[in-house]
């Protein structure tokens, strides 16, 4: 056996990253120096994989590993009928609950969020609804963002 042969981890291609404002979703122009969005002044600049990162019209939330809401985008405020200042530090389940009858369990959404906030897993998709609404469902893409590391939940009503 050749002692010079050894196992090395597969080096994945770095995924393209995109910066966005945690409130208005706008991508900053040029290099990012500050922490605060220069466009709206009401959000912190974060980054995520480009295929997960929201756009200016996307409703999205940012949730930490303890399932506490950390940010609610301007569009999500309107969609969920809440205000970021009132939503911060509250549990995700006060705003969204799983609505997918096919999901493995009621905790599926929470598992996805915790995984996204704690490791670099692929973005996953789930179906959710507001806790007291039964006629409304959203598709939610759960990915990672940061810093600091957290789960990014981008809502949409598309079913492709």
């Amino acid at each position: 056996m050749n002692t010079h042969l050894r196992l090395v981890p597969v080096v994945a291609e770095p995924r393209p990253q995109k910066h966005f404002c945690g409130h208005c979703g706008t991508e900053p122009e040029g290099d990012v120096f500050g922490r605060v969005c220069e466009s709206c002044g009401l959000g912190v600049l974060l980054s995520a994989n480009a295929d997960v990162a929201p756009g200016p019209d996307s409703p999205f939330m940012i949730v930490d590993g303890s399932l506490c809401v950390c940010a609610v985008s301007r569009v999500a405020e309107e969609l969920l009928g809440t205000d970021e200042t009132a939503a911060v530090n509250r549990h995700l389940s006060e705003f969204l609950v799983p609505a997918d009858a096919e999901a493995a369990g009621a905790d599926n959404l929470m598992d996805l969020v915790i995984n996204a906030a704690s490791d670099a897993s692929e973005a996953r998709v789930a179906v959710v609804r507001p806790p007291d609404e039964f006629g409304i469902r959203f598709r939610v893409q759960v990915g990672a963002c940061g810093p600091p590391r957290a789960a990014l939940l981008v809502l949409s009503d598309g079913w492709d």
């Binding site: 409130h23 605060v36 009401l42 930490d64 600091p148």
Partner: protein
Amino acid sequence: MPAGGMHIAPTLPIAVRTLKTSEAAALLNVSPNTLRAWERRFGYPQPQRSPGKHRLYTHGEVAALRDALHEGLSISSAVSRAREALSADTNVLVGALHSFELERADGAMEAALALRSVERSVEEVLLPSLRELGVRHGYDSAPWAFAARWANDWLQRAQRLAPPPTRPASVLIGDATRDDLDPDSLDVRALELFCARAGARVLPLPVRGISGLPEVLGAFAPHAVVIAGGHVPDDDVARWAYGVRSAAGPLPIALFRRGARDDRVRTTGARILADSPGDAHREVMGMIEARQSRPAVAAPTPANTEIGMEAEDAPELRRRSVGL
């Protein structure tokens, strides 16, 4: 150290480091407009106003927000974290008084003063901490007595260090609390402190003391009267108010922490001040300024006027003023 014993007062750092809008914005690496937008949306950082009405931010608040922004995922969560950092002073003060450690309690207030003005330190740290202790132990308990004595002592020390009066405003405070252990007593002391720091002369007198009142008021010449506290019965307060009116003439009168007495206010014209000493002192100073800016009219005589009321209404109102 025993609760009632002599206590060496540490120096109270009255001057708080403040930043102008441009300086605060530079520290946070945002524009001044963004800082003002945060004030509107999040209520933080909450600036004071300079004599020229410019915003003055407390350095501690801005620094706490700057640190929180490094770890925050949104401005809201950073503001929440910064507020938590500032509220730690309250927890320290409650803990110190709960374990009867006076030096640590003084230290907690010094830490609070490093981040806030005296007024905000009192309103955001001292008074909430004492309220928490009162609710936790009961207002007739020994731990409350211990904490209340310390807080009274602290407020009196702060008042001794207040700058000398700088404006022609004298406030007579009719103290209607039971004693230093009355739950309202600390708010009344805070009101005295804030008025004094606003440049007014302040004279607190117990509302049960009528004798010799004309001599004292002749020397003090108050511009406004505040009846503070809810322990002394209305009849006693009305007698004292009549004595004040007889000695000092018609004066604006206000009630502070005397409970909801809307019916009585209607009959006497007394104004109910906000429960917060900070808001109340601004209202008192506003009353005095409004009165001083009013054009001079023929002065009614004490014998036919009610405190703060028009002369023609006086006889009927005087009869009803027992309900003060």
